[in-house]
Symmetry: C2
Subunit: 446 residues, 2 copies
Amino acid sequence: MENTENKDNLKIILDDASNLSLNQIRRLLNKMTPSEIAHTLESSPPKQRTLLFSLLKTDEEGDVLFELGEEIQQDLVSNISNEELAEAVKELELDEVVDILQNLPEERMEKILSSMSMVDRQRIEMGLIFPDNTAGGLLNTDVISVRPNNTINEVIIYLRGQKELPENTDKIFVVNDLNEYLGELSISKIITSDPSLTVKEIMETDILPIDVEVDDKEVATIFERNDLISSPVIDQNKKLIGRITIDDVVDVIREDADQNLLGMAGVAEDTFAPPGRAAKSRVFWLSMNLITAFIAASTINLFQEVIDKIVYLAVLMPIVASMGGVAATQTLTIVIRGLTLEQINTSNIRWLFKRELAVSILNGVVLSLLVGIATYAWFQDMTIALLISFALVINLISSVIAGILVPLILRKLKQDPAIGGSVVVTTVTDVVGFLSFLGLATIYLV
Amino acid sequence: MENTENKDNLKIILDDASNLSLNQIRRLLNKMTPSEIAHTLESSPPKQRTLLFSLLKTDEEGDVLFELGEEIQQDLVSNISNEELAEAVKELELDEVVDILQNLPEERMEKILSSMSMVDRQRIEMGLIFPDNTAGGLLNTDVISVRPNNTINEVIIYLRGQKELPENTDKIFVVNDLNEYLGELSISKIITSDPSLTVKEIMETDILPIDVEVDDKEVATIFERNDLISSPVIDQNKKLIGRITIDDVVDVIREDADQNLLGMAGVAEDTFAPPGRAAKSRVFWLSMNLITAFIAASTINLFQEVIDKIVYLAVLMPIVASMGGVAATQTLTIVIRGLTLEQINTSNIRWLFKRELAVSILNGVVLSLLVGIATYAWFQDMTIALLISFALVINLISSVIAGILVPLILRKLKQDPAIGGSVVVTTVTDVVGFLSFLGLATIYLV
């Protein structure tokens, strides 16, 4: 089976690249699809990646570049000449060319555009107008449109006149003389309908076109809610300017999920980024954490006296802080997921807050009992056991407040609530953890 | 525009449900697609959710149930009668019915199946054979197949004989007399080809069918790599038994991403799960963290003596632990992402390990300098400043080892590397953090 076979090619390249001659590798690459080659590049350290890319034919480079993540794409693009790049992107769909060119420096983009034919150039310049993260950034202009008064027979003759239909063409669009969108006609409807009917009679008008300015995440939602394969895109004047296809929407969904996962840990880099770049991508949140760690340390510093008297407070205090951190990250994750899926809004946030409070109290009772018993077993001190239990409950409640408020505030400030959220919430639980435990100890033990 | 309008309906229901009469809500629900209704249910607390679901017509219930996450689906299913459920799922596609029925208790399933017609029953029983997380679990039997010797004209006449084609039919399949899969024929190819050609002459054979036993994540990869809308599925005897469509694959991709995000925090519940269930889903990893927190505390306990002498060691020690924890989570996240995307393998793990080491040393130098300066500014003690800097570098290096090894070991043990990984890695960095800082202090200060 081809799928298995290509997987083997991939494995051979990844595992044994150093044992293969360049010609052998070239032959393996020839058997793979652009998307498989892109995956191989993304799974390779930078040096090997550059080598593999240099073995591709120019006409393959464009397709492969489009399939790559932004960071790797830009690296590779910066290594090839303007002529080669212009040649490589020539055969791509509009959204694919735009995806590759939009990140280039102004000057370089000008040079490449000026080396293209007038038609190509105008087409691409139109695509470059739209921001990357909108429907416009996913736009293809390869639409087939017909008029409402055409008969199905005329449509079939017209379609048969095309050598082949653009990829993922599950429907064609109906427009008036001003190119304003009127409705759509699925290919399967065309094939199953009486050829003497007119387009107007069988076109569908209930799924509405996507506005070019809509956010790309919103586009993904519209596709998922309506199980779409493709959707027409219109400009402010209701004119049909292109379509979006499901393959590009799947990429948006993947990237969105990826950003949440990486963002929460404060990383933003591809898996095999070179060390310097990886270090740079992570040092910001590490430094933020350094500041917050010193804030937590200052909290402890307030209680030097009590620690000095009862040294095993220092032994136990990280337990309270650490439990709060885990609980806060759990709440934070639920809230970030709910915000991403657009499930959380003003009407249910109160319920969610109460639910999280109930969860923290339920788990607080169980865990503080366990912590109390373990502490008593260890230090044979009932007061300390009671204090740590009580401090834990306080910290679990603070974890709920932090876990819910921090992402909501970040979102209000138009920041991505996933990014670095966990550093902020664990600061709160560290501070409250140390404060409550050492504070209670000061009151009851000094 | 409908998309905006429905969004408004959704908002009205979510925000003002308590101010609307049941009839008003029912009218709003009527205007929404099943997927939008499902989203409204998923965004509602349990009580409101049950109410909204009870307002649906029976023939809508099936579609809505299928669109829901497993947990909410099961809750709602457990509240409706066998007869109603059998009626609700009657019109669904095979994979949708199976998705809903497979989680029912054996006895209940039997009762529902026995209330169905023989044909429906046999169809569903066939679907229930396949495990949920395989190609078989995504299978639909609504395939259209033709023979290689049919002419395109015959195919068109046959298709025209159907009232409408199944949803997401971008291609039909070619089989021999034994129903063995031979190739596929896209609808757009049918429409653009000379009607006198035979199927054999224009069918495509280069994309191979998916084996029914293939893992569902692998199915998603095949769809993404080849930009597929639908794909044929064959059994062990190469017989065509159905097809998988992109809408179900998008669900797999979403769920996969969701599991990674939630798993890392040790949560496994829907956003609006009732408090008892949410508490239960989270208490396991909180308890694990309790154990590991006590392990970290025991490490500190070894150094009571030195803390007793120099109390501000207790103030500073959480800084080293906390920085290691953040760094370890960053490495862990990169590794989990790489494993999920199948980018990491035996050939590049060494490179990755060396890269992470380099990152930890690079950032270690920067951060230990900052930590050293801050510590010196605070306590005016050069030895402590040097010790904490050095301990930080040690802990950042340990964070790399934990962040890489823990997910790899979990995967070797056939566990999901994302689940609870962060609790395990931060234990390592806590222990190493306390050990290195307090250990060095014991050596140099006592």
